[in-house]
């Protein structure tokens, strides 16, 4: 497609080497959070609230303390009470008080599964039995479990002590933690001039990231008041910061060693068990490991927000969008922050909209405190926008790709929040979709009797965050390079980072050996999330590799006693420009270099890497009698900037699509009126199995980002955005029915079919 910024033929980038950590992961050697074993280690277990909303009147731990094999019991009294300070301005907003209360409730439980106490015991079964003996006296309160209930006039209030920020005004006694607005142009005029205005409201149930590895937290609190933590996390430094805040310790007293991480998708950014294990360790002077069950994971960790989104779009008679309005109400869960600013940024991101207005509400409800889930809030808003766009195309008979191309956002288009796009590749994705075998194929319009087929298309967006990353390199005496980084590797990032260093150094990917290390051993590195890792940590590796070359040249100059301007480096060889006989391999220069070993380090604090766009095409088949939907053909098209390791880029596209398909068709928090999740197991939280999906075709479009030397854009998040609307649009195509609630499960389809008749 477009040439990359460095504009050259790559030797390493774009190839598909075996990932460095792969051998440990196919042999069972890789150590994940639960796999750690320390000498004298005890097992922790937590007591959780059976109620979604209640005041804690008292906690009696005496029976548990008396049990054989129980070493310590803790409650929130063992944690410092923190004030309400807003932290940071980047990925770590929110309040310390809420951070701490979410780890363990002080006065009030705000969701079923909220931790109220913990024990450390000789083994898991003893710990579980002890937890059963902890008696908590609750005053049960009425829960609010969705945005309508929470925003109602007489709603039960979660945070009596908290003020909501409603367009800059402090408001007490509200579950609306924030109301923000963005305005751009004159929408009243825009709608007035419109030839057609379409409005839809979608309703999305809470969903879970569903990572296969439950959370864990292992800690040792030593006599010097230093806390060592081992955990499975997307960000060891984020854990260090959070743990130090909750325990009121200086960050340097906390050392976090990241274990291998069994999936996260945003959900392994918050802390849960780490401070609990630490306090239990302080009380017992022994290492403590605490694990979650699958039900705990569903009940008490990071769901992606449910909520309601209303979108209204007006077009002129030529099919150009004139105005757009969005009303976004998302569930934050128990504590504020439902990613409403991200929602606002994403809602009209695929279109050039001359006038728009967005109202977004961050609403607390009695569900677990929501965590980022892969492009947080973007799928929710895309469902509304892409449904409206599809409806416009249906009403006017427009080709859905042509309409999107006519209104496409591209470089220079003003985005919803105001700033203009830098180079982006949505147009190229739409063109690739139009040109794809899938789009050109005939939808089998004559399926088996009783079955209907439909095709849907949708676009989606996620911006990539930048932020801080650090990388150290050292040239080993054998001429190979050790790469030290702080980005926990959730799906092949060791490889994609090492490959960027290898490209700079002109050596094979396998000659750069990456290690992910603890927080004492590398500079600050922000979370593996926000589609930033290959971009930002890769950029740090790129810079560090260039610095390493500087070192190599400097030391060669010393060794040969010539001016360093006379030396050039390429592909693992240092040469004198003047004397062709004078050259050394990396192995030769690495063997006893003058003035000490050859090392380098680099750190970055980056801006966003231009946005990432995806376009998905879904063909499905519906059994009209049962409402069962099967995906029969699926294609994911995405601007990936530059695919460093194409296999893992495809993997992100396929995995994101699969999660989105699950979200569209079956996944939901099925809540009782009391605020209890009734389907908190893999049996009833229906994630797709291998038999539920077809092969997922991928088309990687490469429009390089302007902000990265190789043009990298994040690739992990955009692919979860289009599936929900693509499937909704395909269902409409098959049946002539608009389903506006997720999941679009069989019973909803048969009900809608009956209503239609």
């Amino acid at each position: 497609m477009v040439s990359t910024p460095e504009n050259k033929n790559y030797k390493v980038i774009g190839t598909r080497p075996i990932r460095h950590d792969g051998y440990d992961k196919v042999t069972g050697r890789a150590q994940y959070g639960a796999d750690i074993k320390l000498p004298g280690m005890l097992t922790g277990a937590v007591a959780r609230s059976p109620y979604a909303h209640a005041k804690i009147k008292s906690i009696d731990t005496s029976e548990a303390e008396k049990m054989d094999g129980v070493f310590a019991v803790m409650t929130a009294k063992d944690l410092p009470r923190l004030g309400d300070v807003v932290r940071g301005n980047s990925e770590e907003s929110g309040s310390e008080k809420h951070l701490s209360e979410n780890v363990m409730a002080f006065d009030k439980v705000l969701y079923k599964g909220h931790v109220v106490a913990a024990v450390a015991a000789k083994d898991q079964n003893t710990a579980f039995e002890a937890v059963k003996k902890i008696k908590v006296d609750y005053e049960v309160l009425k829960p609010v479990i969705d945005v309508d209930q929470a925003m109602a006039k007489d709603a039960s209030i979660l945070h009596e002590d908290y003020s909501g920020d409603h367009l800059g005004k402090k408001v007490k006694n509200t579950n609306i933690a924030a109301h923000v607005r963005h305005e751009n142009g004159d929408i009243d005029n825009g709608f007035e001039k419109s030839d057609l205005v379409v409005e839809k409201e979608v309703d999305m149930q809470t969903v879970h990231q569903g990572y296969l590895e439950p959370h864990s937290g292992t800690a040792v609190w030593d006599e010097e008041d230093r806390v060592k933590v081992w955990t499975s996390t997307q960000g060891s430094f984020a854990v260090r910061d959070s743990v130090s805040k909750v325990l009121d310790l200086d960050v340097s007293r906390v050392k976090v060693t990241p274990m291998e991480i069994g999936g996260g998708f945003g959900g392994k950014i918050p802390i849960y068990l780490e401070p609990i294990s630490a306090v239990l360790s302080k009380k017992t002077r022994r290492p403590v490991k605490t694990l979650m069950s699958r039900t705990d994971v569903f009940d008490a960790t990071g769901p992606g927000p449910g909520g309601k989104v209303k979108v209204k779009i007006g077009i002129d008679s030529e099919g150009k969008i004139l105005a757009a309005y969005a009303d976004i109400r998302l569930e934050a869960g128990a504590y504020p922050e439902a990613f409403i600013e991200a929602a606002a940024k994403c809602v009209f991101s695929c279109y050039d909209v001359p006038s728009m207005k967005i109202d977004a509400y961050d609403v607390v409800v009695n569900k677990p405190s929501s965590a980022p889930y892969r492009a947080p809030a973007s799928p929710q808003v895309a469902f509304a926008t892409e449904t409206v766009v599809d409806e416009i195309c249906n009403i006017k008979g427009y080709d859905p790709i042509d309409f999107r191309l006519k209104n496409v956002a591209e470089k220079g288009t003003r985005t919803a929040l105001g700033p203009k796009y830098r180079t982006i590749g949505l147009k190229e994705c739409l063109e690739a979709a139009k040109d794809s075998d899938h789009w050109k194929s005939n939808l089998d319009s004559n399926p088996k009797p009783g079955k209907k087929r439909g095709r849907g298309i949708a676009s989606g967006y996620w911006f990539n965050i930048g932020f801080k990353s650090s990388v150290n390199l050292s040239l080993n005496p054998d001429g190979k390079v050790a790469l030290i980084e702080g980005s926990t590797d959730i799906g092949g990032s060791r490889a994609s980072i090492a490959m960027q260093a290898a490209e700079v150094l002109g050596i094979p990917a396998e000659d750069v050996r990456p290690s992910v290390v603890d927080t004492d051993s590398i500079g600050i590195t922000d979370v593996t999330g926000g589609s930033r890792t290959t971009y930002a940590t890769g950029y740090a590796a790129y810079n560090a590799a260039h610095k390493l070359i500087e070192q190599i040249i400097e030391k060669s100059a010393l060794k040969w006693d010539i001016n360093k301007d006379q030396i050039e480096y390429s592909d693992g060889v240092v040469k004198s420009k003047a004397d062709s006989e004078l050259k050394m391999t990396l192995k030769e220069i690495a063997d006893d270099p003058p003035g000490g070993p050859i090392v380098s380090s680099a750190s970055v604090d980056l801006e966003e890497a231009g946005g990432g766009f995806a376009v998905h095409i879904a063909d499905l088949e519906i059994d009209e009698e049962t409402g069962k939907t099967d995906i029969v053909n699926y294609t994911a098209i995405q601007d990936v900037g530059k695919a460093i390791h194409p296999s893992y880029v495809e993997g992100q596209m396929q995995g994101g699509a699969a999660q989105g398909i699950g979200w569209a068709l079956n996944e939901e928090y099925f809540m009782s009126d009391d605020g209890i999740m009734l389907n908190s197991s893999y049996l009833d939280y229906r994630m797709p199995t291998s038999l539920d999906l077809p092969m997922i075709n991928t088309i990687m479009v490469e429009v390089p980002s302007e902000e990265h030397p190789y043009g990298v854009r994040g690739v992990g998040e955009p692919p979860i955005v289009p599936p929900v609307p693509a499937i909704g649009n395909a269902i409409n195509n098959a049946l002539g029915l608009r389903l506006l609630s997720t999941p679009m499960k069989p019973s909803r389809i048969t009900e809608a079919l009956k209503r239609k008749k």
Binding site: N125, T626, N666, L683, R686, T689, T750, E751
Partner: protein, 287 residues
């Protein structure tokens, strides 16, 4: 989980003795795919678990002149990997092939599925339409009951203290008999039935000489839909006649709404699945 001891008796008598001693604080362990999950989930507290797989007749398939006798702890895969069972009882195999995934089928048994008495159990409807007889051993000796009398409520069965299910006797039919089981799940595997139906038919001179329809996940126990079944007996298996059975089955279904399905959807599904399973059974029976 409350700690329990493990017993692995090698005779029926030994098993009865242990079960009698512990009463409701003991459970049999066949495949463990339900009992271990429930013990862990604190559905009940156990002091003893009695592994019955070491009693030879509990894991045996035996063909007699009148029956296929399936040991109660025989894992599902034994059934669907046996070509004779597949040929003679495809309806039973339908169920055995649907319980859980491959891992579960290595362990889970029809007997366990029956004793667990879940309203949505995949095996029970098939057993009902095959007129299976349960052979139960207990302190007072061996007794036999028809399978439809086994489930007495959600998770409750007809076994009394010290008793356990030894085997399932599936009667061999002389005529053109076959059966089919189908469940509806939103996914394609690893799911619990939203609604399910098993149907069996026996043909004689182009007419249905016997028919049995059983429904799951639409009542507190799997239901033998007797009144629906009877509508086809003595009739030709026409669309119109099958439709009457389906509609009656739908009437009989009395589901609840829960996370797995709505009342209306479940009732509609019963109608669809009744028709589909009867048609499939007819096709298999050679009709």
């Amino acid at each position: 989980m409350h700690p329990f001891n493990y017993y692995a008796p090698e005779t029926v008598e030994e098993a009865i003795e242990i079960l009698s001693k512990y009463g409701d604080r003991a459970r049999c362990l066949a495949g463990g795919t339900d009992v271990l999950v429930q013990a862990r989930g604190e559905k009940f507290e156990l002091d003893a678990i009695v592994d019955i797989k070491k009693i030879p007749q509990l894991t045996k398939l035996e063909w007699t002149d009148s029956y296929l006798i399936v040991g109660a702890a025989t894992p599902c895969h034994i059934l669907y990997e046996d070509s004779k069972v597949c040929e003679v009882f495809p309806g039973i195999v339908d169920s055995a092939f649907l319980i859980g995934g491959i891992q579960i089928q290595s362990r889970a048994s029809l007997g366990g599925n029956l004793c667990n008495a879940s309203p949505s159990a995949d095996a029970i409807c098939s057993l009902i339409v095959h007129e299976v007889i349960c052979e139960i051993a207990g302190p007072k000796g061996v007794r036999e009951i028809p399978v439809e009398d086994m489930c007495t409520g959600p998770g409750k069965n007809a076994l009394t203290e010290g008793e356990f299910l030894v085997s399932l006797k599936i009667p061999l039919k002389k005529g053109e008999f076959s059966a089919s089981y189908e469940r509806f799940i939103p996914r394609n595997e690893m799911d619990i039935a939203v609604a399910a139906v098993a149907s069996s038919v026996e043909l004689s001179d182009g007419k249905v000489s016997s028919c049995r329809v059983a429904l799951a996940a639409v009542g507190p126990t799997p239901i033998f839909a007797k009144e629906a079944s009877e509508l086809l007996v003595g009739k030709e298996p026409t669309h119109e006649n099958i439709k009457k059975v389906s509609e009656k089955a739908k009437d009989i279904a009395s589901p609840i709404a829960d996370m797995r399905g709505t009342v209306e959807h479940r009732k509609d599904l019963i109608k669809v699945l009744t028709r589909r399973t009867i048609e499939k059974a007819l096709e298999r029976a050679g009709g």
